[in-house]
C-alpha cells in the first residue's frame, strides 16, 4: 500500500515526546531536548498526542463526510448508466469522482478498493478491469451504456464498501503527513499529463480534488506545523495559493474546462507549480520527528 505503514507504538511516543520541544532551534542537542521533555513529559506528550488525535479525528470526520457524498453522487451516476441516459451520466461522472479523489490515500490503504473503483485500462488485468474508468470508456469512447449495468452495480457497491470501511480504518499520523504528498503525486503522475481521464478529458476535476484533499490535511496539521516550523508552514501555504491561482482560470462555476483546452505552456506551468508545492509539503514529515 502506498502510504499505510504503521510506526511502532514506541517510536510514535518517542517522536511525540521530542516534538513537544518546539524551541525552533533545529540544532538543539537531542539529548538535551529529550531531557527537557522528561521534565514536563506528562503535559507535553499528552497535549501532543491530543494534537495528533484531534487532527486524526477531524480527518476521519472529513473522510466520512466525503464518502457519504461520494456514495450519494455515485448512486445518481450509476442510476443514469442503468437508465441508459448518456448525457446525464456524462454530466455526473466527473463531479462524483471528486469526492473520491479528495480522500484517495485512504482508499489506497484499503486493499483492492482503489483498483476496483479507479483503475485505468492497463493498470490491472483486462479481465479484472471495472469501476469508473470502464464506464468512462463506455460513455465517451463507445457512446453507449449497453452492457454496463453490472459494472455500474459493482461500482456502487464498492463505493458503499469504502464508506463502511472508513469508519474503522486505522489512521496514523504518518498517513496524514505522507497522504498529503501522495495526493499531489497522483496529480503529477496522471492528471497533469491528461492520462487519468483519457476518454472524458475531465482531468482537471481530479486535479482540483486531489489538491483540495491535500490542503485539507495541511490545514489540519497547520497549528502543529506552525509551532514546529513557521517558515515551512508559510511556504506551503503560499504555494497552495500559487497553485490555486494557476488553476483558477480553468474553473467555470463548479466545472472545469476539458484537458484538451489546455495549451502546452498551461500544462507545464501547472505541473511545475505542483512540484513546487509538493516539495515543501513533503517536509511535513518533520512533525514526526527525526
Amino acid at each position: 500500500m502506498k502510504i499505510y505503514y504503521a510506526l511502532p507504538a514506541a517510536a510514535i511516543s518517542a517522536i511525540l515526546l521530542l516534538s513537544g520541544c518546539n524551541t525552533g532551534d533545529k540544532n538543539a542537542n537531542q539529548g538535551a531536548a529529550a531531557n527537557n521533555n522528561v521534565a514536563n513529559s506528562a503535559a507535553a506528550s499528552n497535549s501532543n498526542e491530543d494534537d495528533f488525535k484531534q487532527a486524526i479525528d477531524q480527518y476521519r470526520e472529513y473522510v466520512i463526510q466525503q464518502c457519504d457524498a461520494f456514495v450519494t453522487e455515485t448512486a445518481k451516476f450509476t442510476a443514469a448508466i442503468k437508465d441508459a441516459d448518456i448525457e446525464t451520466a456524462k454530466s455526473l461522472y466527473a463531479p462524483a469522482r471528486m469526492y473520491y479523489e479528495r480522500i484517495e490515500p485512504i482508499a489506497e490503504a484499503l486493499g483492492d478498493l482503489d483498483p476496483n473503483i479507479d483503475a485505468r485500462d492497463g493498470d490491472v488485468d483486462s479481465s479484472e478491469w471495472r469501476g469508473f474508468h470502464k464506464l468512462e470508456q463506455a460513455l465517451w469512447e463507445n457512446n453507449t451504456t449497453a452492457g454496463q449495468e453490472d459494472i455500474a452495480d459493482q461500482l456502487l457497491s464498492d463505493a458503499k464498501l469504502l464508506r463502511a470501511k472508513v469508519e474503522t480504518v486505522d489512521i496514523e499520523a504518518s498517513l496524514l503527513v505522507t497522504g498529503a504528498v501522495e495526493l499531489l503525486n497522483e496529480v503529477s503522475t496522471s492528471k497533469v499529463t491528461g492520462e487519468e481521464e483519457r476518454y472524458s478529458h475531465t482531468d482537471l476535476y481530479d486535479f482540483a480534488a486531489n489538491v483540495e484533499g491535500a490542503k485539507k490535511i495541511y490545514e489540519l496539521l497547520e497549528p502543529q506545523l506552525k509551532a514546529k516550523d513557521a517558515e515551512l508552514s508559510k511556504n506551503i501555504s503560499e504555494r497552495f495559493t500559487a497553485l490555486e491561482q494557476e488553476l483558477a482560470p480553468f474553473k467555470q462555476g463548479n466545472d472545469y474546462v476539458s484537458y484538451e483546452q489546455l495549451q502546452d505552456q498551461d500544462v507545464r506551468k501547472l505541473s511545475q507549480n505542483l512540484d513546487a508545492l509538493a516539495e515543501p509539503l513533503s517536509q511535513m514529515g518533520t512533525l514526526l520527528g527525526v
Binding site: 503529477s188 503522475t189 499529463t193 505541473s271 509539503l281 513533503s282
Partner: protein
C-alpha cells in the same frame, strides 16, 4: 602525461595484423591506422608502414613494460585497454560494464538479403577496427573527399570499446526468407501490467549496444555504424547511458541508480564460467542452432518519477527496495551482499523485507539473469517540465521466456517500485555468438 613513454604507444609492431582475413568487403576499410597515430602523421604521405591490425593484444605488451607502482600509468593503461572483438562470445555481454553506453536500434530499409549480409560484413570490419583504436577507411587525408572516419575519436584510446550486435523478431519477417530461422518463442515482449510503451522507444530489426569508458568513443562508433548503414538501414532510436565512472569509484563497487540505491548487487559473477553457461549463453536447444554461444538481450527504457521519489520519506524508499540506501544491505542485515532473509519479521510480526519490495520479488524463485543497466537522461519532459531520466535496463539470458518474462510478470503485478517507475521503451534482440577471425557478425545465421 607524455605521449612518448616507451611502451605506451599502441604501436603497430605489437598489434597483430589480421587485415586480410577480416576483410570480406574489400576496399572501403582496407587501410588501417591507429587513431593515436593519425594526429602525429596526419598529412604525411606514404603511411603504409603504420598499418596496424585489430588484435586485442597490444595492451598486454604495453602493460608489461610499465612500472607497477605508477598509478598514472595504470589509469592510462586502463583507458587504453582493448577488449578483443573476435572471440568465442561477443564482447560487451559479460565484459564488466564500461562507464558509458550508446545504444542504437536500426530498421533495415533494404529487401535484399545479400545487402544485409554485406552490411554485417562491413560492420564487422569497422567494429574490429574501432574496438582496436584504428581509423576507418583510407580516405582520411584526401582533400577532395569527405574523410572516411568521422574523426571525433582520432587520438583517443580505445577506452574498452565494445560493440555488440543482435537482431530483433522483425528481422525474421518475410523480407529475407529467414522466417524459419527465427528462434522458437523469440517475439516482442508481451505487455506487462502498467506498461506505457511509446512506439518511438520500441523494437527494431537490429540492436547495437556500444559501451566504452568514454562517451565520445562510444558515440563515434554508433555514428560511423549508422553512416556505413545509410541506404541499407536507418536508426529507429538511440539512447545514451551512463553510470558512475571508474574514476569516481576506483573500488568498482556496485553502482547506484538515479533513485540513489545500489543496483546490481545480486548480479551473477561473470567470472564463473559455469554460471554464465547456465544463465547467459544460449545453447542450440534454447531456440536456434545459430544462436549457440549467443545470448538473448532485453532492453527496457524505464523512466523514473524523479520528482515523486525525491519527496518520499527514506523509510518509504527503503521499504520499496527492501534494502538500506546507505549500505545496500537487505533490511535487517549489515552487509550489502548478505543473503536476503525472507523469513525475518519485525516485533509486530510483519516481514522485515516487505512482501512487495523490489528485492524480495526479484529474489524469489531463484530466477537469474545478467543485468547490464545504465542510467539515462533525455533532458526534461517538454510537457510537464519534469526530468526525463531513469534506467536503461539491459539484461542478457539464454531464455527470455523463462528468465526476464517470468520475473517481469511478477514485478509488474506487485512491485512497490512501480509507483515510482514506468516502462516506456522495450526491445529484444538475439545477440549473435562471437565472431571468429575471418568470419562476420551473423555468419552462423546467414
Amino acid at each position: 602525461m607524455s605521449n612518448h613513454e616507451p611502451g605506451m604507444e599502441p604501436n603497430s609492431s605489437n598489434i597483430r595484423s589480421n587485415q586480410d582475413a577480416a576483410s570480406p568487403a574489400q576496399g572501403l576499410l582496407s587501410k588501417k591506422i591507429s587513431r593515436r597515430e593519425v594526429l602525429k602523421y596526419a598529412g604525411i604521405g606514404g603511411i603504409g608502414l603504420l598499418l596496424g591490425g585489430s588484435g586485442g593484444y597490444g595492451l598486454l605488451a604495453a602493460q608489461e613494460k610499465l612500472s607497477p607502482s605508477s598509478k598514472k600509468n595504470h589509469d592510462r593503461v586502463a583507458s587504453m585497454e582493448q577488449i578483443p572483438f573476435y572471440d568465442q562470445h561477443q564482447a560487451g555481454i559479460i565484459t564488466p560494464a564500461q562507464n558509458f553506453l550508446c545504444f542504437a536500434s536500426f530498421d533495415l530499409t533494404t529487401n535484399s538479403l545479400s545487402e544485409v549480409r554485406k552490411l554485417f560484413q562491413l560492420w564487422t570490419e569497422s567494429a574490429s577496427l574501432m574496438t582496436s583504436g584504428q581509423m576507418l577507411g583510407n580516405t582520411n587525408n584526401s582533400q577532395n573527399l569527405p574523410p572516411s572516419d568521422t574523426g571525433e575519436a582520432a587520438g583517443l584510446t580505445t577506452s574498452k570499446l565494445t560493440i555488440t550486435f543482435g537482431v530483433g523478431p522483425s528481422f525474421f519477417d518475410s523480407r529475407y526468407g529467414l522466417s524459419s530461422k527465427k528462434p522458437a518463442s523469440f517475439d516482442e515482449l508481451p505487455s506487462f501490467r502498467g506498461d506505457a510503451l511509446l512506439p518511438e522507444w520500441c523494437g527494431g530489426d537490429i540492436g547495437v549496444q556500444v559501451c566504452a569508458d568514454d562517451m565520445q568513443v562510444a558515440f563515434h562508433a554508433v555514428r560511423n555504424l549508422a553512416r556505413i548503414a545509410r541506404g541499407t538501414a536507418v536508426m529507429r532510436w538511440m539512447q545514451e547511458g551512463f553510470q558512475r565512472s571508474s574514476t569516481a569509484d576506483p573500488s568498482g563497487g556496485t553502482p547506484r541508480n538515479l533513485l540513489g540505491f545500489k543496483d546490481g548487487t545480486g548480479n551473477p559473477d561473470t567470472h564463473d564460467k559455469q554460471a554464465m553457461n547456465e544463465i547467459v549463453w544460449a545453447r542450440a536447444d534454447n531456440g536456434a542452432n545459430w544462436m549457440q554461444g549467443g545470448s538473448y538481450m532485453v532492453a527496457r527504457r524505464i523512466r523514473m518519477r524523479i520528482e515523486i521519489w525525491d519527496r518520499s520519506p527514506l523509510s518509504d524508499q527503503e521499504q520499496t527496495f527492501g534494502r538500506y540506501r546507505d549500505s545496500g544491505a537487505p533490511i535487517g542485515s549489515k552487509d550489502e551482499f548478505a543473503p536476503l532473509d525472507l523469513e525475518a519479521k519485525d516485533s509486530s510480526g510483519k516481514p522485515l523485507i516487505p512482501l512487495n519490495s523490489h528485492s524480495r520479488l526479484a529474489h524469489t524463485d531463484g530466477i537469474k539473469m545478467l543485468r547490464r543497466a545504465y542510467s539515462y537522461t533525455g533532458g526534461i519532459d517538454a510537457k510537464t517540465g519534469q526530468l526525463d531520466a531513469g534506467l536503461f535496463f539491459i539484461c542478457y539470458q539464454k531464455d527470455i521466456q523463462k528468465q526476464f518474462i517470468s520475473m517481469q510478470q511478477k514485478l509488474a503485478a506487485s512491485d512497490k517500485l512501480n509507483e515510482y517507475i514506468v516502462h516506456v521503451g522495450s526491445a529484444v534482440f538475439a545477440c549473435f555468438p562471437g565472431v571468429r577471425q575471418g568470419g562476420y557478425i551473423g555468419d552462423t545465421l546467414f
